[in-house]
Symmetry: D3
Subunit: 262 residues, 6 copies
Amino acid sequence: MRILVVNVNTTAAMTAGIARAASEAASAGTEIIGLTPTFGAESCEGNVESHLAALGVMDAVLGYAGDYDAVIQAGYGEHGREGLQELLDVPVVDITEAGAQLAMMLGRRYAVVTTLDRTVPLIEDRLLLAGLDRHCTSVRASGMPVLDLEAHPDRAVAAIAEAAAEAVETDRAEVIVLGCGGMADLTETIVGRCAVPVVDGVAAAVRLAEALVGLGLTTSKVRTYAPARPKRLDGWPFAAAAGASPSDPQTVTRHDPVTRAS
Amino acid sequence: MRILVVNVNTTAAMTAGIARAASEAASAGTEIIGLTPTFGAESCEGNVESHLAALGVMDAVLGYAGDYDAVIQAGYGEHGREGLQELLDVPVVDITEAGAQLAMMLGRRYAVVTTLDRTVPLIEDRLLLAGLDRHCTSVRASGMPVLDLEAHPDRAVAAIAEAAAEAVETDRAEVIVLGCGGMADLTETIVGRCAVPVVDGVAAAVRLAEALVGLGLTTSKVRTYAPARPKRLDGWPFAAAAGASPSDPQTVTRHDPVTRAS
Amino acid sequence: MRILVVNVNTTAAMTAGIARAASEAASAGTEIIGLTPTFGAESCEGNVESHLAALGVMDAVLGYAGDYDAVIQAGYGEHGREGLQELLDVPVVDITEAGAQLAMMLGRRYAVVTTLDRTVPLIEDRLLLAGLDRHCTSVRASGMPVLDLEAHPDRAVAAIAEAAAEAVETDRAEVIVLGCGGMADLTETIVGRCAVPVVDGVAAAVRLAEALVGLGLTTSKVRTYAPARPKRLDGWPFAAAAGASPSDPQTVTRHDPVTRAS
Amino acid sequence: MRILVVNVNTTAAMTAGIARAASEAASAGTEIIGLTPTFGAESCEGNVESHLAALGVMDAVLGYAGDYDAVIQAGYGEHGREGLQELLDVPVVDITEAGAQLAMMLGRRYAVVTTLDRTVPLIEDRLLLAGLDRHCTSVRASGMPVLDLEAHPDRAVAAIAEAAAEAVETDRAEVIVLGCGGMADLTETIVGRCAVPVVDGVAAAVRLAEALVGLGLTTSKVRTYAPARPKRLDGWPFAAAAGASPSDPQTVTRHDPVTRAS
Amino acid sequence: MRILVVNVNTTAAMTAGIARAASEAASAGTEIIGLTPTFGAESCEGNVESHLAALGVMDAVLGYAGDYDAVIQAGYGEHGREGLQELLDVPVVDITEAGAQLAMMLGRRYAVVTTLDRTVPLIEDRLLLAGLDRHCTSVRASGMPVLDLEAHPDRAVAAIAEAAAEAVETDRAEVIVLGCGGMADLTETIVGRCAVPVVDGVAAAVRLAEALVGLGLTTSKVRTYAPARPKRLDGWPFAAAAGASPSDPQTVTRHDPVTRAS
Amino acid sequence: MRILVVNVNTTAAMTAGIARAASEAASAGTEIIGLTPTFGAESCEGNVESHLAALGVMDAVLGYAGDYDAVIQAGYGEHGREGLQELLDVPVVDITEAGAQLAMMLGRRYAVVTTLDRTVPLIEDRLLLAGLDRHCTSVRASGMPVLDLEAHPDRAVAAIAEAAAEAVETDRAEVIVLGCGGMADLTETIVGRCAVPVVDGVAAAVRLAEALVGLGLTTSKVRTYAPARPKRLDGWPFAAAAGASPSDPQTVTRHDPVTRAS
């Protein structure tokens, strides 16, 4: 099984990190292909950047020449999942939704913790549209921007763990969904503070994509995600229009022993 | 007062029609500028086209060199209003939302009638996100695609009026919001069939934009629509990246007598 | 265009203030007529007074002999808008709802700030019935009664601005709707504290009424607001039954230059 | 125990019928006092009449000189219960709400059947405000006006039973709440058609009032129903202002044997 | 009238207390029969114990040989009311729901106060399923387990009253529903702290059962609570399967004077 | 990985069918153990049977002596998942919820089709409690009881496919969740009729359980599913109390080739 994991920003290093995380979460035999959009923002933290990401992701997937069984959009709260579902027959999984779905199976209420306050509305809107908001007790921001996180990982981990603890104690969350990624210590620190399960959206998305592919399920093509009617599109695909060379797909294959005893 | 009315597709003739409708709805002294995206679909009837429209509209507004007091996004159910609000300080009005808002002031429940079934979910999602869904009793499609409408206007008007009548009789709508445009006979025929007020989104948006501008109100810049943090955007603006020449703004000034007696 | 702005209490000085505020908000050429009920409470701060206001407003409108194009009910959270819509064909605008509607166009969540705790439920119920509650994050009271406000305007302004600041910081409001009126410094102080748009319900209602009238839209007469069936009403209209002389309409015409450049 | 049952219209014959029904539903030892407003409509079927009823009922209760333990507002979908709760310490029961409450104990979903289509919104709004709407599957109208019902009782019963049957079969109602009264054959016919429990609002209200009084429970006086602040009310009470003589209370005591074996 | 009041745990002393409370709340002439399950937990404070209670209560009722007019399930937040309604024709009342229903008649928002945090979700779920959650502003736990309450009644009363006060002051509750029982001083202390009505679920259930029985209303037998289709049940009733001797019904008859003056 | 799949009724043949379906849906290397309750109903189609199933399933799991990584409760709309989560640390998956979760990833609205009308409320309640109801457009019953299905499989398949078609055409479902099982032709026939994805709850549950186990996620033990406080349980476990011999676990191992190419 081959799953495309598409970053929502143009920073190839982040794609590599996401693909690595996806690969670690994948079942044996699943091949992860990381794609980076050829246009858009270096990081997504707002509405315009999210709209850019929607197209950047679609463009990256359409520009990928190989075969694949599912596509994961690896951004928290970004637009575009519906567009991918319209374009493709294979399952499409959004990491914001995937994290929420697994969280709902582990506890009665979950909270999402993210970095900046300005991404909270985007995550809330995505959960609302997906019908996954009812058991979301809060979306909390640590207040630290992404780049500060990288500069000061210890403080970042502490700030996010603090937001998670408030979600558990004040908002009555029983599960935490990470709405930000890339820090190895994060899950461990939160579990140490709150003793609740911590769900990473990328990992959840990989396993949910595997589940759908494994069952032979594909996106419904009646009504909402029916193929577009044939018509003239100017300036599409953007990558071609802009003369960009395709981004370099990053392939990460899981080489674990293929059978794990129960 | 100058209001930009931005078409969501690349068909300049539609922009002209929308700008004309906007101008007819405008108060005396309001100048309407119609803009056409330089990229995107020739008509918007689905998710991908809607995501393209989101960026096409932002690109068209950013590429407009003149002054303006408000922006109207003239598409039914399209993405992107939030992005415009983030980019701009002046009021931004989406016609799907504007029609719903005025309709809610005229009756207890409203229905939206549109053309194709596949646009229904997009309109429903927009109303849900805007918090305007509670009094929406249904979004009904006539089943006729846009181009057929132009080829057979009589049948198109009849089909949409039929959907409106079902909304009034079956779904208990008391007001009809048009989720499609450009036919002079439409309002008249619906009123003849159902005797309910008919709200056109473009007209509603113009008057709401005038209301906001007239009161000196601007978009809130705390949290959701705060200006983006400075960062590198690759391939933006698209128009420039793709080497497109700017679309030709269509200016329509309302030359009515400036005072109308009450 | 002539708009009746009907106070919900019997204090003529308040009517004058409301009419003045309405006039300042109105477009050039709009004439504002302030009406005061001939019966009811000197100020409305609860359920009984609100029910009295409902009838007092209807009575005042029915007793007005001149022509008019729209009616504004100028009370926060009062009953009666539905009755006016049943009685009249012209548009009817409630200031509680009008403030919410414009606020929803300026930010993702709004809060209402009002004076007394006991008016909070009335405002919440009005927003719920109008389907405008989904984006209302809180209705907060400053705890100061109306008359104390007049005696100590500085403290009143400070208390309301404090409630607004809490709404922005704690409840995540992005726009403030004033649920109380008459203080010139209020908007300025709130903007100084919170840097969010502040919407005044009276001003919003005037512009929304102008929008509806300008588009030729009238209240739907199917079902909810259909004219009453003919029947015997004892003791109605009350003003006549009680032998009251009609209240003195206060006319305020806006004499601004009629065209403002964009 | 003495319960005031207040009609919402000025037709004394209807008061007598309601008081008789209330008395038949009452426990042994409960005394029913029927009150008729001195002003308002001869029957309530719309918004204005409902606002009149709100004040007419309050006026009638305030004008009653005797002692009482609870008050029932006997109109379907009328305004005013909140005002009574503010005025009084004793329990106040609205028949629309009372019928819904008992119905919710007997089946998973209930429907209300009423006479005219124009009263449907009023009933829906009352249930929404009371938080009793979630299990209400529909409010259906038979389409026959009240007076026609009296002229053609057989046809009226058939029409209402037909609406009830549709609610059970189409809307999946498991209990029917009567939103109209005064016909002896109604319950029997509906049960014959649908085999579901039929709840009469007046009867339900009497038993709920008895329950509250029996437990010594009174209306909460913090916040929403706190006593009004002292202030000048012009033209109140209306009955006195209009020089009306008080309506004649109709007393109906239940003289059944006081103990019924279980 | 004879009402079965069924404890949800196996502690006979608690059954006696509940039956005594029920009897004190009952009308004259109502006979209360307390039943104790023959299996289950000594106290119910979680999901498994609640599922056991569901069957224990059904088993106890089926094992009762006498006649009865209604059944009360006397546990806060327990499962099983739907099963009893399926088994029986007579009215079935759950005390969690009964308390909420009467509370909704006394104030605009109510809160439930209970003992342990782990019972909060069960109570919330029961109110959600019953459609009684909309006016519930919070379910608060005092944090003290049941047995500690008995060991230290003063501290227990203080802790619960503290939770009630927070519900009134912070959550804007206007009525308190007791989600725990057995302490005579509780209501008095809460009223002393908060001056709001306090509703006990057992008392409310008795009066609501009386109301339903008094009106001749029975559970709807269409769809949700229709009698089970005939089929083989292994190991049912459990009491017989486990060889248990039937629990000893505790009869408490109310011998008050049968008529109380109003 | 070893997953217990627990039937909710006592019919061992059904357990075998469910285990076989689970095994076919499982990934290579996953071992499926089918368990049958030792008490309860031969088939579950109502509230009492569902409450029995809740305990029967818990009893069967507690009585299973081997190791396992996850538990699936294989009944549509049954009670008890929360109890299992309280008892166990390993993930617990309910098939009603699992089917809904995967369906929500494949289309905008899903419908559940089941056999008897009386199971519809149970399924609706389960989805409501799980917060998965927002995108469920309907739960439809074919009207044919389970045993008739077995006697007349062709008619049964036709009836369920008919219900599915109505859900797609009338209720606008884009995905069908099977709320009944055991018929090989069902999916094929529905896809032939409606061309929408068909999700089987058992298969979905297996893959979701695998996903959770694969990620090392376990049930949150704060608050709702915290281990029960130690206390005396009479008559538990039931199987032991009733002297039943443990049911015979049915093991079905998936022996597919362990690696499938993407």
